[in-house]
Subunit: 232 residues, 4 copies
DNA sequence: AATGAATGAGGATTCATTCAT
DNA sequence: CATGAATGAATCCTCATTCAT
């Protein structure tokens, strides 16, 4: 993610090389700094100067790249949401194993790729600021929530079709997983961030346990192990 | 909720009765107004004057009751968290039915009593502001998260002890329920509040489906009716 | 002029009397301070805080009365232009003497009433800022330039009709008088303000001499006393 | 005007010829751009970058030629005032015709040479900024106003001496013409610039009519045509 | 007790000026 | 020489808080 943003021309001019490289990197550095601070303190409570300072530049420079604090915020959100779902969908298109495995994988990969990265904060950020930026809320709903919901629904559907899962309300079952994700994100960036380390929850264990809870809730027969036995 | 706060003397002086009643009610009205606005826009983006206006008083009056915006915020949080759990715990102390029924009841009652009230916003509010008010975060952890977690754990424990539920990781299973609550609250006060009505999720259906998924996963045997069969 | 602006209700409430009186006076005081400073330094080079300071209030107070520096500017212009012409027109409606006397009176009264007041600066101000505030320019053209032009034309017309003046190009003759006014205003507020006192021009003498040049040029016969002889 | 400023060596080195020519021309191009913009928007409201852009160079280059915006401003004024009067004075030294003709010529030539050029804006500029640059004001008074006044006075003197004009207050009569010039300049660069074309005054006609008004005011006998009859 | 006019510290934003390339 | 990225002082404006009425 973010690797391709503001992509510099492959071959930079030999002169101005250093400055040019800085210039190419600036927006990304500012977005990263802004993301961190907005997640930490919220949009209104973050001073533009802090963002600049954390990105290692001065106040004025920030406004060279983003015309206003508000536009910076929008850029932060857009940048950190930008379509990761197409590749994800594909990843699961050709999956061969059991659907239970898909569910477990899905959560594990999400945690590795998103949850442990700075981008995980975007979730908390949006929840906090959605009502102050309604157009961004709509954007997130379309680009983040709905694709996520659909991906999960497709996985659940596959499990049901293959007889691994009992038939359930797809949408609201997807919300079960999404609720777990939201909970984890919030524990990481809100309350949890204020807790002493030994009281914080263990993300790996959390991910694993939530998957198992769901899979148990989906099993066809109770004496089977969670994840069901695919039809012969 | 809120019924007992700043409890007025049972019998008001007959003279000045109305004014007296207003005066007694002021702090509560301000807290309500503040809660609404803080949930809507966040702490920093809410102007004290707006709070006063929504409570129907003037700017100056707000500061008669709360020494600063920050203290107002803390009062809002404390007010809306303050020990509802003792009574809740009791409510479940003497419960007679199946544990599955307890779980369903617990969620349903929570939704009715808290979820549909203004106080539901406190959850979103804390998630947004926790890191700006670490002492409040600790307070919430103690007064809100832990009691909630414990209450759920006790219910789950009961189910396991009575053979209704298979043995599970109590804490992380509790988190599954809490995740659902958090998700619901957030859909109500953040993203969901920006969605057209027909796209918003149905809270009753959400509550019911989350309970069923969990309970199905907890059942000891699938041929038993949902919620397991209490031991003879 | 300006005496009636933001007119306070004749009888102020007995309570809050002092503050109320201040409040009523504030906008006028701010407008006066702003006019002075804008004339002195120009719009862009005047800091809002200076305006506030000269009006004896703090920065914040200024914005209590005018939503922005730009609105303050517009108010200053409108305030100092607002229809003084109707009464002027009337003043000359019923004039009995020679038209030469009218011309002299007109200039003399203008100088006394406007030229020596702060409002005289408005002319310089508009010339300086017209292109930055095109809508104000249009307003001034309508409310200031055109009425002035028309008033002078009517006077000249009277002189011609009564045989006191030779027939002339009304409009461009009016401009000659207006040019004198503009010159005088500019000498007072621009270059002249930077000159040592003994080099500054004498307004009375200026007014008188401009009138005499014009009137001499307008006379029908030179052996008549200046100002021509009304037809028998 | 501008022809002799920063005069380049008559023969440029053959190599780098073009670049050299550019380099020599730079300051002049910057001064022209600056003049235009300062006249249009005023000193404070003009951004240095705009000046550079209009001159077709970059921000940095501007400061290569002028150490500060303020110095640029002073250079603009000096450049556009620089002694044209000596030659003008001479031009009229050996004039043969009637003095009325001199007056008419003087205005016509001024309009052609100055009024229609960019340099005409300098008048408006100085009026607007005099008080912010008192030393420039003094400079203009000496180099612009006084020479102008003196030139006109000498012309009037000649007319009087030759019996073409009646005796008048030389200085204040000179102001009559100067007022007309100021008025015309202001109509061109301030209010007039905001007016629809069909409402703008006609400079040729204005010049002609102002001359006639003055000459009528100077005539010795009213039954003579303006301009009087030179003594035999 | 209640008001709302006044304050001024604080934060977003602009822009003259510098300097590495 | 020329550039334009970077800077930070300066300025507009907001809003929590005070206090005279």
């Amino acid at each position: 993610m973010g690797d391709s943003r503001f992509a510099a021309p492959a071959a930079a001019a030999p002169a101005h090389a250093k400055r040019e490289r800085r210039k190419q990197a600036r927006p990304g550095e500012l977005l990263d700094a802004a993301l961190e601070l907005f997640v930490e303190k919220g949009f209104a409570a973050t001073r533009s100067e802090e963002v600049a300072a954390r990105a290692g530049v001065s106040k004025g420079t920030l406004f060279l790249y983003f015309p206003s604090k508000e536009e910076l915020f929008k850029a932060v959100v857009r940048e950190n949401i930008s379509g990761r779902f197409p590749e994800w969908n594909q990843a699961f298109e050709h999956f061969e194993g059991t659907t239970a495995e898909m569910v477990r994988n899905c959560l594990r990969i999400w945690w590795e790729r998103v949850g442990t990265s700075k981008a995980s904060g975007i979730g908390k950020l949006i929840m906090s600021e959605a009502r102050n930026f309604p157009d961004l809320a709509a954007f997130c709903q379309q680009e983040l929530v709905e694709p996520c919901e659909q991906l999960i629904c497709r996985i659940l559907q596959r499990g049901i079709e293959r007889g691994e899962f009992r038939p359930v309300d797809l949408q609201y079952t997807a919300y079960n997983i999404m609720g777990a994700m939201v909970f984890l994100i919030n524990m990481k960036h809100s309350l949890g961030a204020c807790l002493p380390l030994d009281q914080q929850l263990d993300p790996e264990r959390f991910i694993a346990s939530q998957a198992e809870i769901l899979l148990h809730g989906l099993r066809v027969r109770c004496d089977e192990p969670a994840g069901g036995c695919p039809r012969p």
